[in-house]
Symmetry: C2
Subunit: 335 residues, 2 copies
């Protein structure tokens, strides 16, 4: 059977099963592992607090095209997507390891720009780049490992959502996918719109401080929007064994999306990936506190329910319930 | 300027310079970093001891060819090369993160075999696989990040060799390169020789326990042989600002190399990479203790001297001094 038949998440489940069964079974080392495979980052106990460790990669012509991305933007995004995984746990990022494969056509100026982008965002979030590896290869890939901490000895996870929780969302979704559509379709907009969509797609700003604040407030469930709003909410529902109802009218719609993508904006909002916003769930009282405390736009978009046959349902403005059409990104399945 | 003009180690030096100058300059986080870019692993201080973090990758058709390597061997080797970096610091490996790019032709059976190999060697050395990432890509790459510890609050490094130190080497070098030559040249040998060379090239056994013993004994300088004996000794000499003399007659010559590679064995021993043996330096008294304590074959192959124009010189059996011809592997330079 091909991995493309099983899909990305089927492959991860298969790997998880192999490791559970065969990797040091019954060894006390697993007592130190608070969260292993299946969440945004791994969480390890140590003497001082909890350590976070996450890894993510960008692959040329899969995650990015050098025709539209500068090396500086690429460096930024490679670190940003890992920061977002630490943000989704409410952690503090500390150290990065950078493993690169570089084609022979790479110039030293490319490397300077690439590290310029990485260092820029690393500095923004207090991260030190402490090591890595480089190798020659036919195409450019960036694998980043980010280490962090959670001094509270607790983290946000995907698996703690409870029926009755409200669902909160920072910022807007769909802008990164709109940026990609702009590049793919060679769409032309006002300079300020082009700039904003380019930034959303190529230089996302991870919600690191917001994740820490949620963790501080005692919120327990969060995920970052990397695969798409519906897809990532589905991950939360599956891990928490609950379902969710999203109110279509409550979704935050960025004015640029409504204006420039009049026919497709709802699809972009629900299924566009790589926004790196945080989706979180909390009791009504805690949600009110979170919305007040967060400095960014935060919207309550729906509610967690007991587990139904569909993980996520959308309530339309007429009060009808419908299934989402497009469930988001899977690396081994075509959309 | 292309990275191929600067070479792998020139690029690393360039990256190191950028980070030193621009990544959180004067931020106290750097006080926690005992060893950063340029050694086998990064070393971080924490409350309990020292934390080690290393990353390495294997790229299809650069580091391996699926025509000769099984997925099980590939999984083994991907973890082994990282274990060897922890071994070179005298550390204890603990946790692995696995970031894979998989072509669409990958089967679920391939994944099962790959993780079979990873889990086999992880179990051998007490390592738990705690997370990772998978993405689709045109070719197969394996990026592993390994976290470990050094409870002594000290590690072996490349940079502590002193004139007068003797140079010790575990096991034999050249066997992995001989294995590669066997595959490349479609050479035919006795089954036991084929098996041994295949194992040396595809399933190397990192010297993790030996590295820990060296660290326990108070030895301070070591490196693992990944680029080749001369190349890795050169790395030690450059980092320690010393030179080295190797006695040709003292080098351990595996009988299979002498028999089957009669014309090229000395080149394989001096320049073949990927043996994952440990090279270390120590005062004469400490070297005697190390040779006695190590359970594997260990050979004193030369001596550290004050810095000369050549980092490494070879003394022939007639007592003549010569320069090594081939200085080992550089990812961005052709041999």
């Amino acid at each position: 059977m091909l991995v493309s038949e099983l899909g990305e998440f089927g492959v991860i489940a298969h790997i998880n099963e192999l490791i559970k069964r065969e990797n040091l079974p019954a060894n006390p080392i697993w007592n130190n592992i608070v969260i292993g495979i299946g969440d945004d980052t791994a969480v390890l106990k140590n003497a001082k607090g909890w350590q976070l460790a996450t890894t993510d990669c960008l692959v040329q012509n899969v995650h990015f095209h050098l025709e539209i991305t500068s090396w500086e933007e690429l460096g930024w995004k490679a670190i940003a997507v890992n920061l977002s995984d630490i943000a989704a746990m409410g952690g503090i990022p500390l150290y990065a390891l950078v493993s690169l494969t570089l084609p022979f056509t790479t110039t030293v100026a490319n490397i300077t720009e690439l590290y310029g982008g990485m260092i820029h965002i690393a500095n923004e979030f207090g991260v030190a780049i402490i090591g890595g590896n480089i190798a020659a290869a036919p195409s450019l890939t960036l694998h980043i490992t980010l280490l962090g901490t959670s001094p509270h000895k607790k983290t946000l996870t995907r698996s703690a959502a409870k029926p009755g929780d409200l669902i909160g969302l920072t910022g807007y979704t769909g802008l990164s996918a709109a940026g990609l559509a702009m590049f793919d379709g060679k769409l032309s907009f006002e300079p300020s719109t082009i700039q904003m969509l380019r930034q959303a797609h190529l230089k996302p700003m991870p919600r690191v401080k917001e994740g820490q604040l949620l963790n501080d407030l005692g919120i327990t469930t969060a995920i970052d929007i990397s695969d798409g709003l519906i897809a990532d909410l589905t991950h939360v529902c599956q891990a928490s064994k609950v379902s969710a109802v999203i109110k279509e009218t409550a979704l935050p719609v960025h004015p640029v999306l409504k204006k420039e993508f009049a026919k497709t904006y709802m699809d972009l909002i629900l299924s566009g990936g790589e926004d790196y916003e945080l989706l979180f769930t909390a009791s009504s009282a805690l949600m009110t506190r979170a919305v007040q405390a967060l400095k960014c736009k935060t919207t309550v978009i729906g509610e967690i329910t007991a587990q139904q046959s569909d993980p996520v349902t959308i309530m339309t403005d007429e009060g009808k319930m419908k299934r989402p059409i497009n469930s988001g990104w899977d690396h081994f399945k075509s959309k």
